[in-house]
């Protein structure tokens, strides 16, 4: 048997296993971490034109914990993440199937306004992308468009406490009027986190938030994520297994558009069930 056929066999096996698992989790109101479930995805598929990028993903995401998605490049982690706050709507030719529910409410319900959804599910991107505005205006952007502040004092408070929560306030408090693009990479990423927090989201999605940062900035962000966990449901995509192990409580392993294995982070890293997961963790795939 060739390697390729091997992989395909494994994949099929993984998929069968997945369905069993999802049946199991569906019966439990809370998952292995013993936490209430915030987001549930069932049989989520994504097509980019003719190309299928996700093949039926089903997963539960626990409240006030960090869930990490790992897997080799191109396996569909970002694609799945972008399904959760419907960012795929902005991509021409992207078609999403299956259901995703936030607190039991269907995210793809035509009656649900995507504006409202994205106010509840914030997002932080791979590369820090502050707007070419001042630090203050960057953070104030979300509250302004959503009309969350009744007056300037409210807005000031939102901006300051968001910057605080993002651990950036002390560093920038004297230069709130300066351009956000003038900050260092790590500061920019924290600014983007503050920008997301300022809208008061319940869930925060982070797509490789540290991949453009140096180790020190990465450590700061990881610490921050650990703090935010107390108040927010966080989903993070990462290429670093160490990072997943450090910051997340739950881990899901994706491969070639399939969810191969998911579970408590410790279990996944110490005792993976699936051979592909083993291979990936040992550095043999990807």
């Amino acid at each position: 048997m060739t390697n390729l056929e091997n992989a395909q066999m494994d994949m099929l096996a993984g998929k069968v296993k997945m369905t069993q698992q999802s049946v199991n989790t569906a019966m439990n109101p809370s998952d292995a971490l013993d936490r209430p479930i915030r987001l549930t995805a069932r049989d989520v598929t994504v097509h980019y034109g003719a190309k299928q990028a996700l093949h039926g993903i089903s997963i539960d995401i626990p409240d006030r914990a960090v869930t990490s998605f790992i897997g080799p490049s191109g396996c569909g982690k970002s694609t799945f993440l972008r399904c959760i706050n419907r960012m795929n709507d902005t991509i021409e030719g992207a078609k999403v199937g299956g259901t995703i529910k936030l607190d039991g409410e269907d995210v793809y319900d035509p009656n649900l306004d995507v504006v409202e959804l994205r106010a509840r599910i914030g997002m932080v991107f791979q590369k820090p992308n502050p707007f070419p505005k001042s630090i203050y205006e960057n953070v104030a952007y979300g509250p302004r468009i959503h009309g969350l502040a009744r007056n300037k004092a409210d807005l000031d408070e939102i901006v300051i406490s968001s910057l605080r929560k993002a651990g950036l306030f002390e560093e920038v408090k004297d230069r709130l009027g300066e351009a956000g693009t003038g900050l260092s990479g790590g500061q920019q990423q924290r600014l983007c986190i503050a920008r997301a927090i300022a809208v008061g989201p319940e869930v925060i999605l982070m797509d490789e938030p540290c991949s453009a940062l140096d180790p020190i900035a990465t450590a700061i962000i990881e610490e921050l994520i650990d703090e935010l966990r107390e108040n927010y449901t966080i989903v993070i995509v990462t290429h670093s297994m160490q990072q997943a192990a450090r910051v997340s409580q739950k881990t899901a392993f994706f491969h070639l558009g399939n969810l191969i294995e998911e579970g408590v982070t410790e279990d996944i890293f110490t005792n993976p069930v699936n051979k592909q997961t083993q291979d990936y963790i040992m550095g043999r795939i990807g």
């Binding site: 960012m87 994205r118 991107f125 992308n129 979300g142 468009i145």
Partner: protein, 317 residues
Amino acid sequence: MRSGSPEQNYHRFYSARNDVEIAVNALLMFCSAVAILTTVGIVLSLVFEAIRFFSFINPADFFFGTVWSPKFSSTTTNDHGQYGLLPLLTGTLWVATIASLVAVPIGLMTAIYLSQYAPRNVRAVIKPIIEILAGIPTIVYGFFALVTVGPFLKGAGALVGLDISATSALTAGLVMGVMIIPFISSLSDDILNQVPLAMRDGSYGLGATQSETIRKVLLPSALPGIVGAFLLAVSRAIGETMIVVLAAGNSPVLRGTPLEPISTITVSIVNQLTGDTDFTGPQSLVAFALGLTLFIMTLLLNIAALYIVRRFREQYE
């Protein structure tokens, strides 16, 4: 072991080849010098003839004069008439301003719609149609302004009790605005497409609607580039000749309103230089002083525009 002939052949072959290389190189270099020579020719001829003009007329009277009335019969007296630039300059600015007021909103909104909202196939059809506007000869616009737009504006003005002249800064500016719509829309389109997608995603991710994203993130990010496009379009409007020759009314008087006939720098160049060629009096030489003014104005605008656009591109590289 030394048999000279193959080596010599080799040598001869390659030195002949080298000669060809050198000759080709020289020829090509000469050709690219033509562009430089053109610029040098423009600058020298404008400066040289303008200096001759300023030997008749005091530069201060030219640049700050408020009356334009050249006298054509210069043989009998020494009175050459007055050559004040200001009436022409204000006329030029009136037309350019009105043209911008027409072209900037239409061009910019067109670019926004085509680059952000329109499906690909709609864009593929509409973009070239709008670009036709830039390819139509200006004499055609001039004629259209003169026989159709002017009388229409006059009639429309009469309806609301406004006294609008059929040939006026308004007529010429309006039609010129149409002409420069594609300059603004194509350049803005390019520039909007250069704003990184990450910027857009950041805004959508926070729950902004598309128009909020465009107005509050995309446009501010693209602003320098759009300003560059605007400057290029203004430079085009200032140097445009045939529309104003036909439709601006040829009345070199300082005006406070665009509803009356005016004249522009380009119109006066045409008026002063057609028919006459011996370039002896200030009557024809003034065309070069006007040309020099025009050249410097458009050059500054272009340099500023190219500089701003280049800075904008570097910002996102």
